[in-house]
């Protein structure tokens, strides 16, 4: 399973801004619901999170120390 941005459907107002800025086709509207499609084309640009007016989309980072 590929890590993908997460959408909180309770906060989402289906404005579609995330879809308009996504360059890899990972975000679609299915039956009036923003849906994330797993794809390795997602390079974690986080533009979807940046433009969401309701904070419904999150692109979290795991923070690790590099192993020596």
């Amino acid at each position: 399973m590929i890590e993908m941005p997460i959408v909180d459907q309770e906060k989402c107002n289906q404005c579609g801004l995330c879809i308009s800025v996504c360059t890899c086709g990972a975000i679609v509207l299915v039956k009036n619901r923003i849906t994330i499609i797993e794809t390795e084309d997602c390079h974690w640009c986080t533009n979807c999170e940046a433009v969401c007016p309701s904070g419904a989309l999150t692109c979290s980072f795991e923070i690790v120390f590099e192993e020596e």
Binding site: V21, T46, A50, F61, E67
Partner: protein, 223 residues
């Protein structure tokens, strides 16, 4: 092309006007649709048309002499893109680029000034909008005192990084911004700067601290 009076009413500048009044001025507006990546305004050029976002989102940014881009904000529905050069007769202090498909409404400067003379309440409201914008920019300037923010972001990374197997902390840039007391865009800039300095590596869904000692030094210097 039909200019939407309901949308015009939602633009802060014109929110004080009645629907009937907006109906009389809507002919002064033009509409333009741009595709993702299209540049709406260029830093350094003059503007004779004030643009408002009617749909989509617009990236507002500056470009350094070395070509480095600094995102100042994301403009959403109803926000003006270039009021500064319209009102002070200078050049655009920023560039604006469509992040997805974007529609903007434009009004020529002379028509806007004419509306303000005809409806002084619009001029008063515009002052209020500009004052609110100034307040936001003052906060951003404060945050962009980079040394301090870089130190706070470095500290957040050090406090939340983990080794090897076991539970790892996951943070969004918005969460880091809240923890650092700054804006999301400033966190994004800070992470980019730390990566350019070779202190961290940004991967898909992961921040790898590659130089722990250097981050500790940054925290030390900024305290």
């Amino acid at each position: 092309m039909t200019i939407d009076v309901v949308f015009l009413k939602s633009i802060p500048y014109f929110s004080v006007m009645s629907t009937a009044e907006l109906d009389t001025i809507k002919q002064s507006f033009s509409e333009k649709t741009l595709q993702r990546g299209e540049v709406i305004l260029l830093e350094g050029e003059s503007s004779d048309t004030l643009f408002f976002v009617a749909s989509g989102v617009v990236k507002i940014f500056k470009t350094s002499a070395q070509g480095k881009e600094q995102i100042l904000s994301i403009a959403h529905l109803g926000e003006a893109l270039n009021d500064i050069p319209i009102f002070d007769n200078g050049v655009n202090p920023i560039s604006a680029q469509a992040l997805g498909q974007v529609t903007v409404y434009g009004i020529k400067k002379d028509k806007l000034l004419s509306i303000m003379q005809q409806y002084p309440k619009v001029a008063i409201n515009t002052s209020k909008v500009l004052a609110e914008r100034m307040r936001q920019l003052v906060t951003l300037v404060e945050d962009l005192s980079f040394r301090h923010v870089l130190g706070r972001v470095a500290k957040i990374l050090l406090n939340n990084a983990a080794y090897g197997v076991g539970p790892k902390q996951h943070l969004t840039q918005q969460e880091m911004a809240a923890m650092a007391g700054t804006a999301r865009e400033v966190v994004a800039q800070s992470l980019k700067a730390l990566e350019e300095q070779g202190r961290i590596r940004l991967e898909r869904h992961r921040i790898v601290v590659t130089d722990r000692k250097a981050l500790e030094d940054i925290v030390e210097e900024s305290s």
